[in-house]
Symmetry: D2
Subunit: 247 residues, 4 copies
């Protein structure tokens, strides 16, 4: 049974993931580590893998500690730029058996939504993205919507598909959304919603719509657990849980 | 049986409405009048009411002819500003038995969507509009979306409801849509679609969505026919079919 | 400030409503009463109104106690048949200033969904209901779906609208759903969902869809609070919060 | 430029496909063949491939004629059972360069919807299918829904996923739909609709919905044309356009 510790266990997401690891028959939760706890606990408890859901300020130090001690990591923390990724690759070169997965999204449903949308996009003339979130979210469009637009634009370019048709000549001001890499994104902010996204694709006489609804933070646990189970077989740096899950 | 003529009968919409009048048991289609036909045909055939689906350039002359001869009119043609409406009221004052209905939308479904959305809007903190059309449409957002936003904003003001919540602080460029009277509107342009609109309302823990899908021009006929049946009982100028249909 | 007590306050729904009453500026939560607490607390604390979210076994005794002491009640508890309602009317006849509201649904969104669907139903040839819930729900279709079907069937009968069109001649077995009063209801049970319902209406060339999504038990609080504020002005027995809310 | 004939060209679908072949730059429409026309026209015009959208009574004779003369066929006609497929394989064994594609569905959107749903199904606990059609359709559920259910059931079995959760203990009568291979299917019949299908998948805290809307028969042409372009490279019998299109 794999021994797992959660870094950032006192946060909302960390708490959900800790409980899910604890409840899993094939995983052994050995430590819930908060910001005031020592990383030495990882060594004392014999942790073989961690889930890191801490902060951009803390995550690099955490990962150096883990990599040097042969502990795998599934990382939900944000803020990884090219420089940080290069640093991680350097550390991993010296410890080639360790696996680190940078996972901007733990939701299997969101990952599938992006993958399926990118797969379908070259088969349709038109595609636009609508993302819907609670009105206390500060950024628009969402990071997931921006990644989806980039994946779709890449897939269409690779397949040699031209730009989406658009005859708009008159327009008004003030829309919340964006055009990203030629793909229109619309951002709704509605009380009562959690995190939702719809990709609308259309060709002559038909449309295909792929929608993901995240209703509860609990949706992030299954992806984190699946990542833990798969990471020992994926040494080195992996960007995106989808590469471990066979999506 | 009411004798009905269609002005603009050679256009696509005029053709659909002419066929529907022809097929109705309680209406008698006496003339399909195209742009080259004389209005005198109305007199010769004894038309009691017309449906006008011509052009902004032709419609005022048509209506003067009808009003002066006691012929009711259901008008789907666009381009009515305050000046034109005042002119119509002047003509109707002199012929007080005649009814003229300016109907920006013949679709009963679209009218209901707008009415229901305006009725529901004061009960929710948040509301946004998503309109979806084929990519050859030149204007964005659609006229229907703009009217819906105005109706919703009016209903909320009247009920004393404050502005919708929105914490967006970072934003990107290029969205297709608008903020109209404080209400966000998003405009999608997708091949394969016809004319669709969704109003998303949200309060604590719940959302209400009202969606209208127009899949075929045939959807415009039932509203025009219902208008014809009701117009004799509604002399003077009426703006909006909804006032005749008891929506 | 109205003094309010919650009966059944230790349950999940009772807890949410107690917290919402507590947080409201114009309501004073004077008691959270669980199954082991004495109703005398209501008298001691001077409660002017209660929300009852207890059990069918307890609710009648609770209501008799309240009515006899002049305490208004908003009742979310289920299990009211004609006999129980007649009993309540008898008690209220002797205390004509007291208001009791039997509210099968506290969600303003769900109430609006039902009202709007019933209003729209006579204008369309076709209408069907799709309800979607979590897979641990024991009854199918949901009570809300059954009430919606009955409201729609009533509205169509009253308007003289005929039966919905259906040419199905071959069919398979095992569907989860029902035909209620001539209206087809479909019941989906999907992990991850909470409580959702969609009414799909259709006429020539167009459809209208009204959808309610309940994502969180918190959605039941605003209706209960609005009921509390309105009940003093509605003495006697009222069935359905919608009559107090002007929906 | 490939010389193409359409068999069943006087039907609605045949007419749409003939026009699309005619309009394509890389295909040459050499014959529109109706039920009274001779198959010899195929030889006279030098047709290299046909699209057959005729009737179950006519299709086998058409295919024998084509296979014996080295003419490829894309077949949208229904009614193929194991016996007919075996017969076709026998004929094709003697003419190994000829390709015949039995295509129960020409819509690329519908094919993608089925493929994506089958791909996603093993990752979610729950899955159900909702299909929506016009109310003059005689069979329920649709053939597409039945195929989708079978594909989903296969994919889940192969992945070792257990049955969908369902706690329903009380149920009513009369639902239109089915349980197919353990997958619930719901069939809506609504005036104004054409052909639509939604697959709803759900896991802890999240759902994924894949929806296909077919609004116009024109949506069947692109799949037929793509099939024509690919069939020379796919000799023998192929069941399903998806195998030629790289979906």
């Amino acid at each position: 049974m794999m021994k797992v510790a959660v870094l950032g266990a006192s946060g909302k997401l960390g708490s959900v993931i800790s409980d899910a690891v604890d409840a899993a028959d094939d995983l052994d939760l050995v430590a819930r580590i908060g910001s005031r706890d020592s990383l030495e606990t990882l060594v004392e408890t014999g942790a073989e893998a961690v889930v890191d859901v801490t902060t951009p300020a803390a995550v690099m130090e955490n990962l150096r500690f883990c990599i040097e001690r042969g502990i795998h990591a599934i990382v939900g923390t944000t803020g990884f730029d090219e420089e940080r990724l290069a640093t991680l690759r350097g550390w991993l070169d010296e410890h080639p058996r360790v696996g680190v997965v940078i996972a901007p999204n733990f939701s299997i449903g969101a990952l599938l939504m992006m993958q399926l949308a990118a797969k379908a996009a070259p088969f349709f003339e038109s595609v636009e993205i609508v993302e819907l979130h609670h009105p206390t979210k500060a950024d628009a469009p969402s990071g997931t919507a921006q990644r989806t637009a980039a994946l779709i634009a890449d897939a269409r370019r690779e397949a040699g598909v031209g730009p989406v048709p658009d005859a708009t000549t008159t327009a008004l001001e003030g829309a919340r959304g964006a055009e990203i890499d030629g793909i229109h994104v619309h951002a709704l902010r509605i009380r009562g919603l959690v995190a939702h996204q719809e990709v609308v694709l259309g060709g002559v006489g038909e449309t295909l719509t792929i929608r993901h609804d995240s209703l509860d933070r609990a949706s992030f646990a299954p992806g984190a657990l699946a990542g833990l189970r798969a990471v020992p077989a994926h040494p080195g740096l992996t960007i995106g849980l989808e590469h471990l899950l066979g999506l």
